[in-house]
C-alpha cells in the first residue's frame, strides 16, 4: 500500500536519504488541496466546512433569539437582509420555523456529526494507530465530497421561493409530507431530503473506512487495548453511524414516496386546507420509529467522539493515566449497545403502548450507569494530577461540567412519568442543548486547540483561547440553565411569542437576558474562528515534535507530516497510551519498549 503513497516534500529537514518507500512525486494544487486523498487534508476540509456551517447555524439561532427575547421590537436590518421573510423588521412565523429547523439540522448533522467526526476520525485514526492513511483514501475523499454536495443542496434550499424545511429538525410527517400544511414542506423539504440522502452516503463511506482502518491497519504492537480512548470512541461512533443512518434513509425515502408518488406510508385520514386527502391506512408514528432509530444513536454519534477527545486531553494535561481505561472502553461499548435500544423514549406521549414505554424507561435510565462511570473516572483522572490549564484542558474540564449538568436532566426526561409533563417543553431544549450541543462543542474545541499544532504546525493564540473558554462557559450556563425553569412552567418549545398565553408569559426579562447572552456567545465564537484562521498563518510556530509531552504516536511524526505521516518505518508500539508519571518519569511514549525493572500497571 505504501508504494502508491505520495510523500510530500515539505519536510526535508531529516536526512533519511535512503528511504525505500518514498516517491518524490510532485503534487498539483488540485490533488493536494481539493481532491486530496491525504487523511489530514480531508480532516481540514471537514473542519473548515464544519466551521462555515457552524457560523451559519449559529447565526440562525441569534436571529430567532432576537424574536424570542424582544417579540415586540422590530429590527429594520432584518428586512434589509431577508426582505419579505421579515417584513417591517419582524420575523414572520414561517421564517422563525425555517430558522429553528435549519439551526437544528445544520448543527446536529453538518457540524457536530460531519464536522466533528469527519475532522477527528480522519486526523487521528491513522496518526494514532500508526497507519500511513485510511484503508481507502479514495472512499475517504468521496466521503468529503458527498458531504460537500449535501452542503450545497442544503444551502440552496435556503434560497427557494417557499423557503427551506420548516417542520423542525425531526421533520415529522404529515406536516413535512404535505405542502398544503406548511410552506416549508414544499420544495425546501425535497431539497432537505436530497441533502440528507447525500449526507447519509457520506457518513457510510466515512464510517466504513474508519472501522476498517481501526480494525486492520494498526501498526505492529498496537493491540486494541493499547489504543488511545479517542480511537475507541471513534470506532463506536462509526459503528453507530453505519448501523443507524441507513434506517433514517429508508424513512426519508418513504417520506419522498408519500410526498410525490401518492403512497400512504405515513398518511391517513387527513383533511387539510379545506380538502380531504385520499390517503388511508398509513401511520404517522412509523416515521417517528424510523427517525429515532437513527435519531437517538445520533446523539451518541455526536457525544462519543468528544468523550474520547476529552479523556485523552484530561490525561495528558493532568500528567496522569486516564483512570479505569478498561472501564472507559466498557462504558463506551455499553453506551453504543444501549443507544440502539432506547429510541422510543422520544415517543412516550405518542400513544405508545404503556408496557413498551416502561421497557424503554428501563433501558434509557440504564445508560446513566456507563455515563456516570465515565464522569467519575474523569474526575478521578484529574485527582492528584499536576494540571496544566491549556485552552484545550479548560475546554475538557468544561466539557465534563456541562456533560454532568445535561446528563442529569436526562434522568428526568428518560422517566416516562416525568416526560409526560416535560415532553416538548423548554426543559427538553435545555437538556439536549447542554448535554449534546454545548458539551459536544466543548469537546470539539478542546480537540481543535489540542491538535491544532499537528494540523498546521502552529499554536493558536492562548489569550484568545482563554477568553473564548471563559465567556463560552459562562454564556452556556446563562443561556440554558434558566430554560429549565421555562420548561418547569410547562412552556412548550417552538413558541415564538408567548404574550397571548396566561401560563407562559411571565418570562419576558429572562428571555431578553438569554438573547443577550446568545449574542455575546456567538461573537466570541466568531473570535475563535478568527483565531483559527489567523493562527493558521501567523500563529506561534511549533518547535518541538511533541509540544504537549504526550505518549501517543501522532507526536512521533514530523512537525509537518507529509502524506504517509512517518518518514521511514512506522514506529512499533510497546505499551498502552497512558504511561504518564510512571516510575518517576513525566511520560513514556508508546514507542518505548517496556524496561526490565519497570513496574506493571
Amino acid at each position: 500500500m505504501s508504494d502508491t503513497l505520495h510523500i510530500q516534500h515539505e519536510v526535508a529537514s531529516h536526512g533519511h536519504s535512503g528511504e525505500p518507500h518514498m516517491h518524490h512525486h510532485k503534487e498539483t494544487f488540485i490533488s493536494k488541496y481539493i481532491f486530496s486523498m491525504d487523511h489530514k487534508m480531508i480532516a481540514k476540509q471537514f473542519l473548515v466546512t464544519g466551521i462555515i456551517w457552524a457560523i451559519i447555524g449559529g447565526l440562525f439561532s441569534v436571529l430567532f433569539r432576537l424574536q424570542l427575547g424582544f417579540p415586540d421590537q422590530s429590527f429594520p436590518i432584518l428586512e434589509t437582509f431577508f426582505g419579505r421573510w421579515a417584513e417591517g423588521g419582524k420575523i414572520k412565523p414561517e421564517f422563525y420555523y425555517a430558522l429553528t429547523t435549519m439551526h437544528g439540522t445544520v448543527l446536529i448533522f453538518f457540524v457536530l456529526t460531519a464536522g466533528l467526526s469527519g475532522t477527528f476520525a480522519n486526523l487521528l485514526i491513522p496518526l494514532q494507530v500508526g497507519a500511513r492513511d485510511m484503508a481507502s483514501p479514495f472512499m475517504n475523499m468521496l466521503s468529503f465530497w458527498f458531504f460537500f454536495a449535501a452542503s450545497i443542496v442544503m444551502l440552496s434550499s435556503l434560497f427557494t421561493q417557499t423557503g427551506p424545511a420548516a417542520g423542525g429538525w425531526t421533520v415529522y410527517p404529515p406536516l413535512s409530507a404535505l405542502g398544503l400544511a406548511s410552506q416549508g414542506s414544499k420544495s425546501g423539504m425535497d431539497l432537505w431530503i436530497i441533502a440528507m440522502t447525500l449526507f447519509v452516503a457520506s457518513q457510510l463511506l466515512g464510517g466504513l473506512n474508519y472501522i476498517s482502518t481501526i480494525l486492520n491497519m494498526r501498526t505492529k504492537g498496537m493491540s486494541m487495548t493499547r489504543m488511545p480512548l479517542t480511537i475507541w470512541a471513534i470506532l463506536f461512533t462509526a459503528i453507530l453511524g453505519v448501523l443507524s443512518f441507513p434506517v433514517l434513509l429508508s424513512g426519508l425515502v418513504l417520506l419522498m414516496f408519500d410526498r410525490h408518488l401518492g403512497t400512504s406510508f405515513y398518511l391517513s385520514d387527513i383533511f387539510v386546507a379545506g380538502q380531504a386527502l385520499p390517503n388511508e391506512g398509513g401511520s404517522a408514528i412509523l416515521y417517528q420509529h424510523l427517525f429515532w432509530f437513527l435519531g437517538h444513536p445520533e446523539v451518541y454519534i455526536i457525544i462519543l467522539p468528544t468523550m474520547g477527545l476529552a479523556s485523552e486531553i484530561l490525561a495528558i494535561n493532568s500528567r496522569k493515566p486516564v483512570f479505569g481505561y478498561m472501564a472507559m472502553i466498557a462504558s463506551l461499548m455499553a453506551i453504543c449497545v444501549l443507544a440502539f435500544l432506547v429510541w422510543a423514549h422520544h415517543m412516550f406521549v405518542t400513544g405508545l403502548n404503556p408496557f413498551l414505554g416502561s421497557v424503554f424507561v428501563l433501558l434509557t435510565l440504564l445508560i446513566a450507569i456507563p455515563s456516570a462511570i465515565k464522569v467519575f473516572n474523569w474526575i478521578t483522572t484529574i485527582w492528584r494530577g499536576n494540571i496544566r490549564f491549556t485552552p484545550a484542558m479548560l475546554f475538557a474540564i468544561g466539557f465534563v461540567s456541562i456533560f454532568i449538568s445535561g446528563g442529569l436532566t436526562g434522568i428526568w426526561l428518560g422517566n416516562s412519568t416525568i416526560d409526560i409533563h416535560l415532553h416538548d417543553t423548554m426543559f427538553v431544549i435545555a437538556h439536549f442543548h447542554i448535554v449534546m450541543g454545548v458539551s459536544a462543542f466543548f469537546g470539539m474545541f478542546a480537540g481543535i486547540y489540542h491538535w491544532f499544532p499537528k494540523l498546521f504546525g502552529r499554536f493558536m493564540n492562548n489569550t484568545l483561547g482563554y477568553i473564548h473558554f471563559w465567556v463560552t462557559l459562562a454564556c452556556a450556563y446563562l443561556i440554558f440553565w434558566p430554560m429549565h425553569y421555562q420548561g418547569m412552567a410547562g412552556m412548550p418549545r417552538r413558541y415564538l411569542d408567548k404574550s397571548s398565553w396566561v401560563s407562559f408569559s411571565q418570562f419576558h426579562s429572562l428571555d431578553a437576558m438569554i438573547t443577550v447572552a446568545t449574542i455575546i456567545a456567538f461573537s466570541v465564537q466568531l473570535m475563535f474562528v478568527f483565531n483559527y484562521f489567523y493562527s493558521m498563518y501567523k500563529g506561534r510556530r511549533v518547535r518541538s515534535q511533541n509540544p504537549w509531552g504526550a505518549t501517543t504516536l501522532e507526536w512521533t511524526t514530523p512537525i509537518h507530516p507529509g502524506h504517509g505521516n512517518w518518514e521511514g518505518e512506522i514506529p512499533e508500539v510497546h505499551r498502552w497510551a497512558y504511561d504518564y508519571s510512571k516510575d518517576g518519569r513525566d511520560f513514556i511514549p508508546q514507542t518505548e519498549p517496556v524496561g526490565e525493572d519497570e513496574s506493571a500497571h
Binding site: 420555523y97 415529522y172 404529515p174 404535505l178 400544511a181 410552506q183 385520514d269 387527513i270 383533511f271 387539510v272 379545506g274 380531504a276 404517522a284 408514528i285 500528567r319 496522569k320 493515566p321 486516564v322 483512570f323 481505561y325 472501564a327 406521549v349 404503556p354 414505554g357 428501563l362 435510565l365 440504564l366 456516570a372 478521578t380 484529574i382 485527582w383 492528584r384 494530577g385 499536576n386 494540571i387 490549564f389 474540564i397 465534563v400 442529569l408 434522568i411 428526568w412 422517566n415 416525568i418 409533563h421 415532553h423 416538548d424 493564540n461 492562548n462 484568545l464 477568553i467 450556563y477 440553565w481 410547562g490 412548550p492 397571548s500 418570562f507 461573537s523 497512558y578 508519571s581 516510575d583
Partner: protein, 367 residues
C-alpha cells in the same frame, strides 16, 4: 446609524482584544514562556474555583428569582399530576445531590491539583473497588427511580374508570375542537371525508348514525367537573398536534388516523386556581406541544373546571351540532322547503343523507 455604531463598537472591541492577545504572546516570549505559562496556570486555576462558587450561587439565585414563576411541585391540579410532581421531587433530590457533589469535586480538584513543581503525581491507573462502587451505587439509585417511575406510569396510563366522562378532542391547524357524547353517552360515527365546515360538520360526523344526533360540539373551550374522572379521546385532522395540559402535568399527541387517549381527574376548579395563584385571569390552557405549522404558537384551548351543578347548567344550554345544522339548513332553504315539505323534518332528512354519504365506511372514533 445606530446599527452602524453598535457594529463599529463591536469591531473596535474585537481589535483591542486581539491586539492585547497578540501582545501577550510577545510579552511571554520576552519574559520566558515557561514563567508566563505558570502564571497563567495559576490564574486559570483560581478562576475555576471562582466559577464553582459563583455558579453555585447562580443556581441558588435562579431558584430565588424564577422559583415562583414555575408550576410548583405538589400543586398539580390533577390526581395524575400529583404523581408526576412526586416523581420530579424524588428525581430532583437524587440528581441534585449528584450535581452538587460532582461539580464541586471537578472544580475543586482542578484548583487543588493545579501544576506545581513540588507535587508528585500519583500514578493511579485503575482500582477495581472504586469502579465497582460507582457502578453499583448509581445502579441502585436508578433502580429505585425506575421502580417509582414505572409504577406511576402504569397508574397514569392504565384504563380509565368506567364512570369517566368522555370527551373527544380534535386538533387541526390551528385550533382545538371537542365533542361530548351527549345524553346517550355514545359518540356517533364520523369519517374524515364528511368534514364540511361550510355545512356545520367540522368533525365529519355521519348524520345517519343516530348516536350523532345528541353529540355536543364545542370549539376552543371545554368544561370539566371537579373530582370526576375524564377520558380524552384524542385525534387530529391534518398534522400531528399534542394536547398539552401543563397544570394537570399531562400531555398526549393528537395523531391523524390513530386515536390516542388520556385520562385524569381534575381536583381543583378554575375558581380554586384563581384563588391559589392570585391571578384573576387564570384559566387552564391547552397548549399544542407538537410543531404543527406556522400558527403553532397560537394553538390555544381553554378548560374550565367547575362543580357538577355548574357543569349541568352549562351543558343544558348547549345545542347538539345536528340540531344546529338542521336549523341552519332550514333557514335559507325555507322557500325550497315549501316545495319539498319533508326537508325540515329530522327523520326523513336522515334518510336522504344516507344516500348522500353512502361512501362513508369507516369508523374512526375510538370507543
Amino acid at each position: 446609524m445606530q446599527n452602524f455604531l453598535i457594529f463599529a463598537i463591536l469591531i473596535l472591541g474585537f481589535i483591542i482584544t486581539f491586539q492585547i492577545a497578540r501582545a501577550s504572546e510577545f510579552v511571554s516570549v520576552i519574559r520566558g514562556e515557561e514563567k508566563t505559562r505558570k502564571q497563567t496556570n495559576k490564574i486559570n486555576a483560581a478562576l475555576l474555583l471562582v466559577f464553582l462558587i459563583v455558579g453555585m450561587f447562580g443556581v441558588y439565585w435562579t431558584q430565588h428569582t424564577l422559583g415562583d414563576k414555575i408550576l410548583k411541585l405538589g400543586t398539580s391540579a390533577s390526581d395524575h399530576g400529583i404523581l408526576v410532581d412526586r416523581m420530579i421531587k424524588y428525581t430532583l433530590i437524587a440528581t441534585g445531590i449528584v450535581f452538587v457533589g460532582t461539580q464541586t469535586l471537578l472544580f475543586w480538584y482542578s484548583f487543588k491539583y493545579q501544576e506545581s513543581d513540588k507535587r508528585t503525581v500519583y500514578y493511579f491507573p485503575h482500582n477495581n473497588k472504586l469502579e465497582l462502587l460507582w457502578t453499583v451505587v448509581p445502579a441502585i439509585v436508578l433502580t429505585i427511580l425506575i421502580g417509582f417511575g414505572i409504577v406511576y406510569w402504569y397508574r397514569i396510563t392504565g384504563a380509565a374508570p368506567a364512570n369517566a366522562m368522555q370527551i373527544e378532542v380534535t386538533g387541526s391547524q390551528f385550533k382545538w375542537e371537542f365533542r361530548y357524547p351527549g345524553k346517550d353517552g355514545v359518540f356517533g360515527k364520523k369519517y374524515y371525508k364528511n368534514i364540511d365546515e361550510a355545512n356545520d360538520n367540522p368533525l365529519g360526523q355521519i348524520w345517519e348514525d343516530a348516536a350523532n344526533h345528541d353529540d355536543i360540539y364545542e370549539s376552543g373551550q371545554i368544561h370539566l367537573v371537579v373530582g370526576k374522572p375524564v377520558k380524552l379521546i384524542i385525534g387530529a385532522k391534518d398534522v400531528i398536534h399534542s394536547v398539552g395540559l401543563p397544570h394537570f402535568r399531562l400531555k398526549m399527541d393528537a395523531v391523524p388516523g390513530t386515536p390516542t387517549t388520556l385520562w385524569f381527574t381534575p381536583i381543583k376548579t378554575t375558581k380554586d386556581m384563581i384563588k391559589e395563584t392570585g391571578n384573576g385571569k387564570f384559566v387552564y390552557e391547552i397548549a399544542c406541544d407538537q410543531m404543527c405549522g406556522a400558527g403553532h404558537t397560537g394553538m390555544r384551548g381553554e378548560i374550565i373546571v367547575e362543580t357538577q351543578e355548574e357543569f349541568d347548567q352549562w351543558m343544558a344550554s348547549q345545542k347538539p351540532k345536528y340540531v344546529q345544522m338542521k336549523e341552519a339548513a332550514a333557514a335559507p332553504a325555507a322557500p325550497a322547503a315549501a316545495a319539498k315539505d319533508s326537508v325540515a323534518a329530522p327523520a326523513p332528512a336522515t334518510a336522504d343523507s344516507i344516500t348522500a354519504a353512502g361512501a362513508a365506511k369507516k369508523d374512526s372514533t375510538a370507543k
